[in-house]
């Protein structure tokens, strides 16, 4: 692709329009130099989907198409900029619902073509991590980030904000997925994270000693063995005619997951001499996980960061923050970029 202007470097001001449409929020933002958010417009469809008990992809896609132009207009107006001021355009290209992703991504591709500016494809998970840099611009590096949700479990190392190295990932289930499966098996409902956490409140975490996966020197995770152990335990107890104490069981399972997550995290923190720790993703909302890690980081005199609530939900500002660092690396996408609903970090 031929660009009209030369690509800027980090000493110059860089203005990026970012779009996000991976689930049920249509969002656009204008970011100056990554973390300075000039506008952050989010139009939520949550109410439309409520009566169905979950996001309906076709309804979400229809709504994204309807909202994309007004949301972009508002982001430009609130930031006080015109299309012609933009240095680049970014969009989430995965993971998420393909129909929604395609609306935001196609809009971004068209803007890139029309204005002859770089197109930047951003990973939604990276967006949630970079949300922390918007809220805490002076976060100290190097840092280790544990990002955990129903779809992924990754441990990342940041020497600077310009890029990360994946130290470890789950070899089977994501941690959030394990919570969901065990919650369903125990009849506690969906989503599993909050359901297990609630049931565990009155339980004894040392009641059942479930195994913690030992993957040697790697920083990888595994939760399928734990999942099987919990299911076997329940089946065995039922066969013996014993009543299962759900609170104890939930607490013991939760303790095993938290142990696996925090032991890898703390080992990485020591190995890389990290100054800060960042927790991100849905599972990072688990209070026991936060408490456990918080205790260990305070002992080491390190700083722990959680995503702020207003940047926890989907938004475009976090996509624009990632896009800025990709711009500096000239990590530009071709116009042939398509949505990847199962994109990994």
């Amino acid at each position: 692709m031929q660009f009209t202007q030369k690509i800027k470097n980090e000493t110059e001001d860089i203005l990026i329009l970012a779009l996000e449409s991976s689930c049920d929020e249509t969002a656009a933002s204008v970011n100056l130099n990554g973390t300075e958010v000039l506008s952050n417009v989010v139009s939520s469809q949550v109410k439309l989907h409520q009566k169905f008990g979950g996001v309906v992809p076709e309804i979400a896609s229809r709504k994204h198409l309807e909202l994309i132009l007004p949301v972009i207009d508002q982001a430009l107006v609130e930031a006080g900029v015109e299309f012609s001021d933009l240095d680049a355009v970014a969009a989430t290209y995965g993971p998420g619902l393909v129909g929604g992703l395609l609306v935001g991504l196609t809009a971004a591709k068209t803007i890139a073509l029309a204005l002859k500016i770089p197109l930047i494809g951003v990973n939604h998970i990276a967006g949630h991590i970079y949300a922390n840099f918007i809220a805490n611009p002076d976060i100290e590096k190097p840092l280790i980030c544990l990002t955990v949700s129903g779809g992924h479990t990754d441990l990342l190392y940041f020497a600077s904000r310009r890029g990360y190295k994946i130290l470890g990932s789950t070899q089977d289930d994501a941690a959030g997925e394990a919570f969901d499966k065990i919650s369903r098996f125990m009849g506690l409902g969906y989503p599993g994270g909050p359901a297990i956490e609630k049931a565990a409140q009155s339980g004894d975490p040392s009641a059942v000693d479930f195994p913690r996966a030992d993957l040697g020197d790697s920083f990888n995770f595994s939760f399928s063995g734990l999942k099987t152990a919990v299911m076997n335990y329940i089946n065995n107890q039922q066969q013996k005619g014993n009543l299962v104490n759900k609170a104890d069981l939930a607490a013991s399972f939760q303790a095993a997951v938290i142990d696996s997550l925090s032991s890898n995290l703390m080992a990485a923190v020591k190995k890389y001499n990290a100054k800060s720790i960042v927790l991100s993703g849905g599972v990072a909302a688990n209070q026991q996980l936060r408490k456990s890690i918080s205790k260990q980081t305070t002992e080491l005199g390190l700083k722990l960061y959680y995503p702020p609530l207003d940047l926890c939900t989907d938004n475009a500002a976090m996509i624009g923050a990632v896009a800025y660092y990709q711009y500096l690396e000239k990590d530009f996408a071709e116009l042939s970029l398509s949505a990847d609903p199962a994109l990994k970090l």
Partner: protein
Amino acid sequence: MLTLAIDTATEVLGLALLNQQQLVIEHNLHLPRQHSEKLLPLIESMFELTEFEVADLSGIGVTVGPGSFTGLRIGITTVKLLARIFKIPVKGVSSLELLAAAVEGEYLLPLFDARRKRVYTALYQRQLGKVAERQQAISASNNLIFNSRKAIIKPAGIEITKLPEILADYRQFKLTLLGEPKIAVKEVLTAAGFRVEFANLENDFPRAAVLARLAAQYLAMDQSDDIYQLKPAYLKQPQAEINWQQKYGKKTDLAGGN
């Protein structure tokens, strides 16, 4: 007057550029499930191959279906942004009208398979103007027949067996079928006493150049669409909405339903 046409309604990705009456470039590419990857690079390459810039565009035509919702949304999103950035008018054209626009015959019945023995269809009647107008409209450069037509039955999803009833007023005329599934539709109509012919196979597919001409004509008559309202002609509510209404029986404000 430089008109861009974009058709992403079907498995054929259609793109054309029309300068005044001159067709500059046209693609009709059978590329199932590749519209997202191919549309923008192809638009870029069309401008690279020709002497025009995207900023030279003065109007855009886009198909609004019936067709693949995902495909339509890719095309319509592209058109919305191009129109917004370059402040140019847009015309959304029915995929049924696009099919009908390229063939001879006075009563035209374009068809789209809606599955489960249903079709999306409309009945178009050619509007016969003065001979001179017609001759002017037949472009010598590319043999495209261009003339105006009116939807005397508006686009809708219909069970094939109900077609004789819906078309009852037109039993005395010869109907020209195009699109698919024309054999199944012909059987039902001939059994009910209709006179039916098939369109010439060479013209029986959506062509981007025809879309460009249609759009240019509509835009010349100031019949443009509001880009903020532009959306696919869904002709069907989302399945989740249909299921919900069957279960709870209540009418509800719809998420973009049509």
